[in-house]
């Protein structure tokens, strides 16, 4: 995967625009639903950039794939860090819905191809798989955990384990990913994707126990 050191141009810092252009193009390629049996070479070919272009901007293909994962993680977690610090449950709900909409969209498009690619390449290159996961999913989960911890400390939410709760919310939002990975064609569900995200966030915030049942359960 790695280009010979003698030919490695140190363009990583001098050409940031090209790097981000390539990363965006690869992300766009992964989001393309026509993608089948994703392997790295096919994805690069369809991105419109030659291997020479990629070599000139990245030290290795591994670095490029990790950069794409970072790009996705930043994009998905933007709503969690960009917004004003929430003060009420409504603020928390708005932030989580905004985050959920982006995450859900990416999980049904770009990340489907990305996960398939990781699975295909991961068997040959386990360290790449680990780096990608750390740069992608782990970053998003960490930002969500920090958000939940903050809201918990300020008494807006009541959670015992922010990490587990963050992972649960990620699991809720990842449903389109599982659908796309396993069900072809994807099973139709009631309501739009936005409705499902809102419903998931509502479930996460309020649960579904009836008031009568919750009162009973909480006193036993």
């Amino acid at each position: 995967m790695r280009r010979p050191a003698s030919a490695r141009a140190n363009n990583a810092e001098s050409r940031p625009d090209i790097r981000s252009d390539i990363v965006s193009a690869i992300s766009g390629t992964l989001a393309d639903p026509c993608d089948t049996l994703a392997d790295l070479n096919g994805i690069f070919h369809r991105s419109g950039y030659s291997q020479e272009d990629i070599w000139s901007a990245f030290e290795s293909i591994d670095d490029l794939v990790v950069a794409v994962a970072e790009h996705e993680a930043l994009f998905i977690s933007q709503p969690l860090v960009r917004r004003v610090r929430p003060n009420t449950l409504d603020d928390v709900r708005d932030t989580l819905v905004a985050f959920g909409l982006v995450a859900s969209r990416e999980y049904s498009t770009t990340l489907v191809g990305f996960i398939r690619m990781m699975m295909a390449e991961g068997a040959r290159n386990p360290s790449l798989k680990k780096r990608v996961y750390e740069a992608g999913s782990e970053i998003v989960t960490r930002r969500l955990r920090e958000f939940l911890s903050d809201t918990n400390e300020r008494g807006i939410l009541s959670i015992s384990d922010a990490q587990v709760c963050a992972e649960q919310l990620m699991g809720l939002l990842r449903e389109p990913l599982y659908q796309a990975l396993m069900l072809n064609p994807v099973t139709s569900q009631n309501g739009s994707a936005a409705d499902r995200v809102k419903a998931s966030v509502e479930r996460f915030l309020h649960g579904c126990a009836s008031a009568r049942s919750a009162r009973y359960e909480r006193t036993i």
Binding site: L37, R116, P126, S160, R174, L205
Partner: protein, 356 residues
């Protein structure tokens, strides 16, 4: 390779053998008599019923000088057998050794795909068989015929192919159908175990029932065999969509169906407020999945322990039913902390113990 099945059959045969084994067996020195007396009519310590082999006649992977002398699609032959856990037993004669190994499903698919480029036959082995070790040159065709117990005199994979095809019980197979059959068998077996709920459990309060099912589901999802099947189902979704669909039908979809029924009952009993129980079931399953399922499928990190699984199941049920929003107990607890850490009100203490 059907270990539990084979063991059961072997036990049955052993019982049969014990009752009618001759008492005057000639026991070889240095061999415990109990072992020697165990030997069946063919001299085997265990009697195993004949099973089907998936025999793959394939073109070469790389060009070799002798390829011009043999059939264009049948230059090599090897045999495979699915197990009950999703893996496959592979017996592949090499020029220099006999490769006998257990393959995880994703690797087995590579061999099956190779088989798909030639011809795949399902053949029942013969026990005790009529092959002979006196055949001489043991090429792949000769060794495969020997594995199957066939008295074949052919020297080529294509010759063996024609001989086996003439047998009435031989069937042609294709890769997708083999995967469909195996996924259905393995996944439905695991799902049944995870989703079986006794009548007693059904009468439990919803919270406790969901914890039991959630824990069973998580434990099953994290079974290495099922993770490997899931990995293969995802990886091969474009190539073999029917196999992936069967995985989903017998796995996640079945779990959603069972959870939907449980939630519908709870809704009827007034325990929960849910407009769409199927959507609720999906949400609960998603909470159980969390990150750990994807991490496990991608083979990142360690499989969670039973106590971790239990904690995650309880937390998922807690959030699913009560939500992460503030509740009275949390508010009371916060009030206590503000009051200098004095004792919690009774209700708060009970809720805390319950959630642990």
């Amino acid at each position: 390779m059907n270990a539990p099945y084979d063991t059961a059959r072997a036990s049955q045969s052993w019982l049969a053998r014990s009752s009618d084994s001759p008492s005057s067996l000639k026991v070889v020195d240095d061999v415990p008599s109990d072992l020697a007396n165990c030997a069946d009519e063919h001299g085997s310590l265990v009697t195993v019923e004949p099973v089907d082999w998936i025999v793959c006649f394939v073109p070469g992977l790389k060009r070799q000088w002798w390829h011009r002398f043999v059939h264009h699609k049948h230059k090599h032959v090897f045999a495979m057998r699915p197990t009950n856990t999703g893996s496959w037993l592979l017996v592949e004669p090499w020029w220099t050794r006999m490769m006998v190994t257990i393959l995880p499903p994703a690797d087995a698919v590579k061999f099956l795909r190779w088989g798909g480029t030639g011809d795949i036959l399902r053949v029942r082995e013969q026990v005790p068989g009529k092959a002979s070790q006196m055949r001489g040159w043991s090429n792949c065709a000769v060794i495969t015929a020997f594995v199957l117990g066939r008295p074949s005199w052919t020297w080529t994979p294509h010759g063996l192919y024609k001989e086996l095809l003439r047998e009435k019980t031989t069937r042609r197979e294709n890769v997708e159908q083999l995967l469909v059959e195996q996924f259905a068998k393995v996944v439905s077996q695991y799902s049944s175990n995870a989703l079986s709920v006794s009548a007693d459990q059904l009468s439990l309060p919803l919270r406790e029932l969901l914890i039991i099912i959630g824990r069973n589901l998580l434990e099953t999802m994290m079974t290495p065999a099922l993770l490997e099947v899931c990995y293969t189902a995802i990886l091969e979704a474009d190539r073999y969509p029917n196999a992936t669909r069967v995985y989903a039908q017998h796995g996640p979809k079945r779990a959603i169906a069972v959870l939907t029924k449980i939630l519908a009952r709870a809704k009827q009993a007034g325990e929960i407020d849910l407009a769409d129980c199927e959507a609720g079931a999906r949400q609960f399953l998603g909470m159980l999945y969390g990150n750990i399922h994807l991490e496990a499928v991608l083979q990142l990190g360690a499989i969670p322990t039973l106590s971790e699984i239990d904690l995650r199941a309880r937390t998922a049920v807690k959030v699913f039913l009560d939500g992460a929003g503030p509740d009275e107990t949390a508010i009371l607890a916060r009030g206590v902390l503000r009051n200098g850490g004095g004792p919690l009100p009774v209700a708060s203490r009970r809720a805390w113990v319950y959630l642990r």
